[in-house]
Symmetry: C2
DNA sequence: CTGAAAGCGCTTACAG
DNA sequence: CTGAAAGCGCTTACAG
């Protein structure tokens, strides 16, 4: 049914070796032959059979994309953006995006193991970066290439893409002060201690220090609105918030509006993850550009031997609501 | 390096044919031989090479999972749930989940075309169900199997999984009236006309009619809060809302709280897609069970010739916040 | 510059 | 119940 290189060879009176080489742009084949072969291939609607190629190459033309086990619902929005960027670049390289995702660490490990041993996948992208990750151990011991989204913890070293979250924290803070004329921005963090939270806070603290203002950091608990209310009442001067993510930001925003129906407050969150049904012109978000992060991850994974980038930092953009 | 069936055959003094058949549980091989072969395979850490198998079988052990082009950020949460359910079932069948996603319809089409012709993928799941979808046309003309998440438009017929959205609408309405003692639930729809919106509204209207109450349907625009405010003020009797999705629900909820700081209102949304940072005990959501929908999609795709289910309806669950 | 041949690791019709 | 052989569609070392 589907044309093969054998069909092309027969039609042209060439050997399959020559056709194969011509299609792969092997320099040993004359330019003219290469051109002719490609024309005939085109005319016959030739499509390479990946399974055959992968078998000879002992390597699948797939990249395994690994989801974290206990992801917060919040982050799912980010993942689909990453997938888009990754797949765009994979398609351009005639690669396939294979997903590994599971409810438990064991499920994911088994999934990845199968990708390595049975499917012969040699390249992976992790949509997260955790410490003491058994998946990373597996990838290392199998000597396959991988890139994480998010930098490794201190002391660890591997390929990764990330934002500059210190700058992102600083930019959000400056945006509030310079563009929106907020006098005393507060930093709202979650009760987690993710590396990016720490970095954004560092950026905030730096900008406050540069502006010679007193920083105020407030930890927003998951399930206790009264703490938020109390904080708002104890800080009547507050006219702007840098929140560690959009959800934390929106929560503070709404509590504030309930307590001070008349007053305005400007909020900057991170991830640009909220539908506009939920926000208004006083809510802003730093877009971390997940599409570009996905693209960058693939670039790292496929970089030629000559360049040896260890990571790519993707720039962020502040979105007006 | 990796053991092959040849290694097993050599070690046991059998032919590769016998080993292959034994591993595939072919009845023509004695039970004893089958058991022994499997033991040796286990001992050698044998892993089947998918590329080799796929080449002989003329079919990849992959399912293509296709994302919609213009998805709302809102829905991403749902997609990741689907992926989890799909992958769980694929792993159990030793299948791989391959993703097709793109910025444009052409990109996705090209991606799917490549999956069919080059990767030889014969089974697909679409995470959406649109009318006049060129992807569906392609899948049909290539005679590959596919399942959509969401029922096809009237007049169309193919395999699908879905919720019973009429019942989901009715259940949300009853929940408000019976459990939460809401006297006059209002239905808040978006400005879109998705089939599931229409169905949920139908369920709402039915329950209101059964309860001999006057239905009130309110269309929430994307970017105009004043319309929401006006509606709330014109309907002072409103003490509960069935919202077509969580975002619409949360928006109405917040507007209401701003206008009536003292009063409580109960809201039921759909998708269980909001992190608890944003909700409280008066916000409820109908969980559409994306994990189970994903699992069901795979089951449909792999159902034996004997049963010919055309669709699977997955049940929903109302979650208290 | 081109070709004949071997091989990648499976499955399965054919033969006994 | 088991085996020898062909074949799936590629790539590439070896030869010329």
């Amino acid at each position: 049914m589907m044309a093969t290189i054998r069909d092309i060879a027969k039609k042209m009176g060439l050997s399959v070796s020559t056709v194969s080489r011509a299609l792969n742009d092997n320099q040993r084949i004359s330019l003219q032959t290469r051109r002719q072969v490609k024309e005939v291939a085109e005319a016959l609607g030739y499509q390479p059979n990946y399974n055959a190629r992968n078998l000879t190459n002992q390597e699948a033309n797939s990249v395994g994309v690994i989801f974290p086990v206990n992801n917060r619902v919040v982050d799912n929005i980010f993942y689909v953006g990453l997938l888009r960027g990754i797949n765009e670049q994979l398609n351009a390289r005639n690669y396939v995006l294979a997903v590994a995702v599971g409810e438990s660490s064991d499920q994911v490990l088994e999934n990845v193991r199968s990708m390595i041993n049975r499917a012969q996948i040699k390249r992976f992208i992790l949509l997260y970066s955790h410490v003491n990750d058994p998946v990373i151990d597996l990838l290392k011991s199998a000597s396959v290439e991988f890139v994480t989204v998010g930098k490794p913890a201190a002391g660890q070293d591997w390929l990764y893409v990330d934002n500059d979250n210190v700058e992102a924290g600083a930019d959000g803070t400056r945006y509030l002060m310079k563009k929106l004329h907020v006098s005393t921005p507060v930093f709202a963090e979650s009760t987690n201690d993710w590396p990016y939270e720490v970095d954004r806070k560092t950026g905030y603290l730096r900008e406050m220090s540069l502006a010679k203002k007193s920083p105020v950091v407030f930890s927003v608990p998951d399930n206790d609105d009264s703490v938020v209310n109390q904080f708002i009442e104890e800080n009547p001067q507050m006219d702007g918030v840098v929140a560690v993510d959009d959800y934390t930001g929106l929560k503070v925003y709404h509590r504030f509006k309930l307590l001070h129906p008349g007053r305005e407050i400007e909020v900057v969150g991170y991830n640009n993850s909220l539908p506009n049904e939920l926000t208004d012109q006083h809510f802003h978000s730093v877009d971390l550009n997940p599409n570009e992060m996905g693209r960058a991850a693939v670039k790292l994974l496929f970089q030629p031997e000559t360049e040896k980038l260890r990571h790519i930092i993707v720039s962020h953009i502040i979105q007006k609501s």
